[in-house]
Structures are given as structure tokens and as C-alpha cells.
């Protein structure tokens, strides 16, 4: 392991890669602060820039963007009560009340310290867990991969939208359907191209990610007449208060940070459960274990209530890299976009990444420490200035985001057909968003589509057309059962709700 760390250090600590960490954290913070634009958009916007880089630098930049975006999300949660991303919604519960009391500086500092600690503890776990899991994963067969990916897809659907599992599954299937457009990988015949030459190569994941996230998120802000830039201007003019945190305050949040780091990391490793769930769970856990006196403070500017979700969401971001780096299976929309980027660099993540491209594997892990340090020393003092940037008038910001999304895709293909296709997908994504379909399962389904089909083909060929692998291989069986469980649990809950409602209705009639 130590060789790995030193290899990672020597790759990550080159002037170019350190610059990447800085640029990534800064750009991520800025984009993450914009309400509506999340880490997926931030990463997608960076991909065209990184095409010319070697994979390690590209991944380092994107990991930096990811952290930065999460940190930026908490900044807008605290300052203007408008969470930039879902993972920082819980941050606003106690962060915004603190800002209203004139302690925005302190809230931001605590957010930064807890993010830093959560990220660092997460990175240490990753360092231990990833190589161990990678060596286990080497014995996986195609049937195991197949069911693992299906588990990932069902888990994302089960977790992203509680009560809306079927809709999330529909979005997943739609993503899988879009992935079949183009030339079939095994036989080389065209599918769903309708004779169009522009569709023969299929739809690029960058195009789909940009259209369904960056473009449609920016257009949604126009559609909903989002006025938060006005609020930002007020907040940045209003002053931040001191950034100082007393030693006593630090001591009081230390156990919270410790607990939430561990919780956050393990939630992040689970497929489907990312930063959002981790932050809510950590917040809930802290409120439960808090003393009666502390409990009253939650929601009114409790420091523990702020530290818990902030720690957990960063630890979960780190944790979500475990399945990506060791199995090649992304567990969330964000890591799905990173997987797409890695594949386009010509790197196939998975258990063999650890052996074939150890520099990518280790430098990503090491750059996570660097990213955390950069966020702490660079972003925290700069926050007041970045917040001013946010006060850029929205009419200027949105066309620029549209331009960078469109040109980012065009510069890869040099085909104007892609621009039309993006406009069409963006409109479709807006309609789906208004119908309350989650978008992350769609992009995850799209990216996993080819791999699922490939592994299904192999598994079926090995077992001569029979699906007996589902129960004949113990490992496959175990994962299949887990998948069934993630599907059945929400179903039982729905049926129970019906029963209770019918019971309530019946007893209501009787009265």
C-alpha cells in the first residue's frame, strides 16, 4: 500500500496536477453555489476541457470539481437558504439560522472544517477499502457483474425518490433504452438509428449528461423565475461575520464529526445512496443522540446540526468512489458521469484498474487529500469574493452556461446535429423534471446500458442461453436476493400505506 501512496503522491504532486486541484475546487465551488446547478453539471461542464489531458490529471480535476461543488452547495445553503445541490439541503437547516444571526462566517468555517475532516477520514477508509475490494472483485464473473449493475440501478431508484420508486425505475429503463441507440457492439448491426448517419455511433454520454443536467437545470431556473441572485447580492453585501471558531465549540462538535464521517463513508459506498441520504441520516442521528438541551437548538442554528450533514456529505462523496474504482460500477449519477469520462479517456475502471493503471487509481485517492486541503486553505478565505461573483446578473450567467454546454459537446464531435439533439433532449428533460421523474437514474441507466448488455450476453453464452446463473452461482444468487430486497421493501411499504388508508376510509365511513 505504501508504494501505492508514494506512486500516487508522485503523480499528484506535479505542478500541472496541483493546478488541476486548485482549478477544480475553485470552479466546482462556483458552479455548486449556483442554485439548481449540481455536481453532475459541474463535472459535465469540465469534461470537454479535460479531453486533451492524461487520465490521471483529468480525474484529479473532476474529483476537485466534485468536492468543490459540494462545498459550494453548502455555501449557498448557509448564505441564502438556497441549497445548490440536494446533498446540502440538510446543511441549510442549521446553517441558515446561523447566518441570520450574523454568524455566516462561523457557519462557513464550521462547514469547511467538518467537510475537511469528513473528506479526510473518508479518504483514509478509501485507501484501505479500495485495494481490498479490488482484489476480491478480481474473482467476479460476468453474471456477478450483471447482477451487481442491476443492483446499482434498482438501489439508485429505490433511494433517490422515496415513494416514487416506479417512476425512478421508468427513468432508468428510459436511460437503458437510449443506450441501445447506435451500432450494436457484438454483431455490428444498427439499432434505432432510423437510417440517420448521425446516430450510427450512438448518443454520446457527454451530450446526454449536458442536456439532461447542465442545460435543463439552467432552463429550469428560467422557467421557475428563480430570483436567488438578488438574494445573493444582499447576502454578500450584508457581511459575513468573523470566521473564528472557539476551541470549546470545536470540542463540542468533534464527536459529531467523528460519527458522521463513518456513517457518511459507508452510506456513500452503498450503491444508490449518496451524499443526500448520508447528510439527512447524519442530521437525524445527531438529533437523536443529542442531549435534551442540545436537541432544542436543532433547526435554530445548532453547531452540531450544521457539522453532521456537512461531514457526512463529504465522507459519502469519498465513499462513492469505492465502487467506481474497484468494480467499475458507479453508485450515483455523479460517479456515473465520471465513469463516462474515464471510458472516454480510454481507461476502463474496475478491479483491473488497480493493476493496469495504478497511477490513475492512486493519484485519484491522493488528490482527494489535496482537494480537501485546498478547499480549506483556499476556498474558505475566498468565499466572500466567490459569493460576489454569484451576484453576476442571471440574464448574463444563464446564456453563458448554455453556451459552454453546447460548445463543450460540439468541440468533441464537430457536428451541429449534436446541438439540435441537445436542444431536443433538454426540452424532454424539462418535461420529465416537471413530471417529477428523477434524472440521475436515467444517466446511470444510460452509462451502464452497454455494460449490462455485454455481461448479459456473456453470462447467457456461458450458461447456454439459460438464466440458471442467477441461482447456480452463490455470489450471483446473494446479489440477486439483495436486488429483490431493495425492490420489495418499498413495495411492502406502499401496500401497507394502502391498507392503512383503506382501513382509515372504512372506519371513517362507519362513523
Amino acid at each position: 500500500m505504501w508504494e501505492g501512496i508514494s506512486l500516487g503522491l508522485s503523480t499528484a504532486i506535479t505542478p500541472l496536477n496541483i493546478l488541476m486541484v486548485f482549478v477544480g475546487c475553485f470552479a466546482g465551488t462556483f458552479i455548486g453555489m449556483l442554485p439548481g446547478l449540481g455536481p453532475i453539471s459541474a463535472i459535465a461542464l469540465m469534461i470537454p476541457i479535460t479531453y486533451g489531458f492524461d487520465p490521471a490529471s483529468g480525474m484529479i480535476l473532476m474529483a476537485g470539481v466534485y468536492y468543490g461543488a459540494v462545498f459550494g452547495g453548502s455555501t449557498s445553503s448557509i448564505l441564502i437558504n438556497a441549497p445548490g445541490i440536494a446533498g446540502t439541503v440538510a446543511t441549510a437547516f442549521d446553517g441558515y439560522p446561523l447566518a441570520q444571526k450574523g454568524q455566516a462566517g462561523k457557519a462557513l468555517a464550521i462547514a469547511a472544517y467538518s467537510s475537511f475532516t469528513g473528506g479526510t477520514i473518508g479518504a483514509i477508509f478509501l485507501l484501505v477499502a479500495a485495494p481490498a475490494l479490488a482484489s476480491v472483485a478480481l474473482s467476479f464473473q460476468s453474471s456477478d457483474y450483471l447482477v451487481l449493475m442491476i443492483l446499482g440501478l434498482t438501489a439508485v431508484s429505490a433511494f433517490t425518490a422515496p415513494g416514487q420508486v416506479i417512476k425512478a425505475l421508468m427513468a432508468t429503463v428510459l436511460g437503458l433504452m437510449i443506450s441501445t441507440v447506435g451500432t450494436d457492439p457484438s454483431a455490428g448491426v444498427q439499432r434505432y438509428t432510423f437510417g440517420s448517419l448521425d446516430l450510427v455511433d450512438g448518443i454520446s454520454f457527454l451530450l446526454l449528461a449536458m442536456a439532461t443536467f447542465a442545460l435543463s437545470e439552467a432552463l429550469m431556473a428560467v422557467l421557475k423565475r428563480d430570483e436567488s441572485s438578488e438574494k445573493t447580492r444582499d447576502a454578500s453585501v450584508g457581511g459575513m461575520g468573523s470566521l473564528k471558531v472557539t476551541r470549546q465549540e470545536l470540542r463540542s462538535i468533534a464527536p459529531t464529526v467523528g460519527r458522521s464521517s463513518i456513517l457518511g463513508f459507508f452510506i456513500g459506498v452503498l450503491p444508490g445512496a449518496g451524499a443526500t441520504i448520508a447528510s439527512f441520516l447524519a442530521y437525524g442521528m445527531e438529533r437523536t443522540v443529542a442531549s435534551a438541551k442540545d436537541k432544542l437548538g436543532f433547526g435554530k442554528g445548532s453547531l452540531k446540526g450544521l457539522a453532521a450533514p456537512e461531514t457526512a456529505n463529504n465522507a459519502a462523496c469519498t465513499g462513492s468512489f469505492v465502487p467506481l474504482l474497484t468494480l467499475g460500477i458507479p453508485g450515483s449519477g455523479t460517479t456515473a458521469v465520471m465513469l463516462g469520462a474515464l471510458i472516454s479517456y480510454g481507461v476502463q475502471p474496475g478491479p483491473r484498474l488497480f493493476q493496469e493503471a495504478p497511477d490513475v487509481f492512486w493519484s485519484v485517492i491522493v488528490s482527494m487529500y489535496l482537494g480537501n486541503i485546498v478547499l480549506l486553505i483556499l476556498n474558505l478565505p475566498l468565499i466572500p469574493y466567490i459569493a460576489k461573483l454569484l451576484a453576476l446578473p442571471r440574464p448574463v450567467l444563464i446564456p453563458l452556461i448554455l453556451f459552454f454546454s453546447l460548445i463543450g459537446v460540439y468541440l468533441v464531435s464537430f457536428n451541429t446535429f449534436d446541438i439540435y439533439m441537445m436542444a431536443a433532449f433538454a426540452v424532454a428533460a424539462i418535461i420529465l423534471r416537471l413530471l417529477a421523474f428523477p434524472m440521475a437514474p436515467l444517466i446511470l441507466g444510460f452509462i451502464l446500458g452497454d455494460m449490462i448488455e455485454d455481461n448479459l450476453r456473456r453470462a447467457l453464452s456461458i450458461y447456454d442461453g439459460s438464466i440458471a446463473f442467477l441461482w447456480e452461482r452463490p455470489l450471483t444468487l446473494a446479489i440477486t436476493l439483495l436486488t429483490v430486497l431493495t425492490l420489495v421493501v418499498p413495495l411492502i411499504r406502499t401496500v401497507n400505506t394502502w391498507r392503512r388508508m383503506r382501513w382509515a376510509a372504512a372506519s371513517g365511513d362507519g362513523e
Binding site: I166, D184, L219, R225, P393, P395, V396, L400, L435, R457
Partner: protein, 162 residues
């Protein structure tokens, strides 16, 4: 009975899945391939079946809910949304794509950005021009001169310069 938006969504998805599965039947197969366990049609067929099952399940769920007498989903109010501006921006994007070849990168981009600012209500000409033309020129210079990518100057410029 009016259909809730979830029911409409489920019906649309049902139609899509059926169409998708029906079209899967016309994917070309090589002779003899139909006897193999896995063909280019296998995966699309599987997806179509899953899609149909999911949309029926969703329809069933939606139809079932109101009967229990409560929690009927409030129809989301689509009024108050700024559809006009979004439509104008989408048209601007399509026009941007169409303008690329004849006008070239710099002019098309400047026009697109300026149109975007105007659509979103920016009326100060200093901003409209100042944040469009320089952005396009600097981006073009960065791409072509620094990164060595080729961006078409456009038929118009070529005609003027030759």
C-alpha cells in the same frame, strides 16, 4: 374522470415501451442468428417488457390511490412558469446550431449570447455587446491559437477574405 399527471406519464411510457419493443422486431439479424441465445434483439426486447410492466404498475398505483379517499395528488400548477423565455432560448439554441456553418463560430456565438441576454431581459447595450463579442473572440482565440483546435471561421468570413 381527469387523468392525473402520473397517469399521463405512465400512458406515455407504455406507448413508448410498446413502440420500442415493436421496433426491436425489425433489427437486422444475420442468417442463423435467431437460434443463438443472445442476439442484438434480446436486450431491447427485455427492456420493452420491463418498460411495459413498469408503466402498468404505475397506472395501477395511480388509479388505486384516489379510491382510498385521500392523498389525491394536487395537480401541479403550470401557470406562472416562464414558458415564453424558455421556448425563446430553445429556439436560439437551434438557430445557433444552424448558424454555425454559414456565419462561423465568432459571429454565431456573439449573436447567440446577445440573443440570450436580450431574451432574459438584459437591456443595457454595454452588457449585451460587452459580454458577447469579446467572449466569442477570446474563446475562439483560445481554442484555435492556444489549444490548436480548428473552429470553422464560416462561409461568410471566407467569402469576405478571399
Amino acid at each position: 374522470m381527469t387523468l392525473s399527471r402520473d397517469a399521463v406519464a405512465a400512458l406515455c411510457f407504455l406507448a413508448l415501451s410498446v413502440a420500442y419493443g415493436w421496433h426491436a422486431g425489425s433489427i437486422q439479424l444475420f442468417p442463423g442468428q435467431e437460434f443463438e441465445p443472445f442476439t442484438p434483439r434480446t436486450f431491447p426486447y427485455a427492456l420493452a417488457v420491463i418498460g411495459i410492466v413498469l408503466s402498468l404498475a404505475q397506472l395501477f398505483t395511480v388509479m388505486r390511490k384516489p379510491k382510498a379517499g385521500q392523498e389525491r395528488e394536487k395537480p401541479q400548477s403550470w401557470a406562472g412558469f416562464d414558458w415564453g423565455r424558455v421556448a425563446a432560448l430553445v429556439v436560439a439554441m437551434v438557430a445557433y446550431g444552424a448558424a454555425f456553418k454559414p456565419l462561423g463560430f465568432v459571429i454565431a456565438t456573439s449573436l447567440f449570447l446577445a440573443a440570450g441576454y436580450l431574451i432574459l431581459g438584459e437591456r443595457r447595450w454595454a452588457v449585451v455587446l460587452g459580454a458577447s463579442v469579446p467572449v466569442a473572440v477570446v474563446f475562439w482565440a483560445l481554442m484555435t491559437q492556444v489549444l490548436g483546435l480548428y473552429l470553422d471561421p464560416g462561409a461568410l468570413i471566407r467569402a469576405l477574405t478571399s
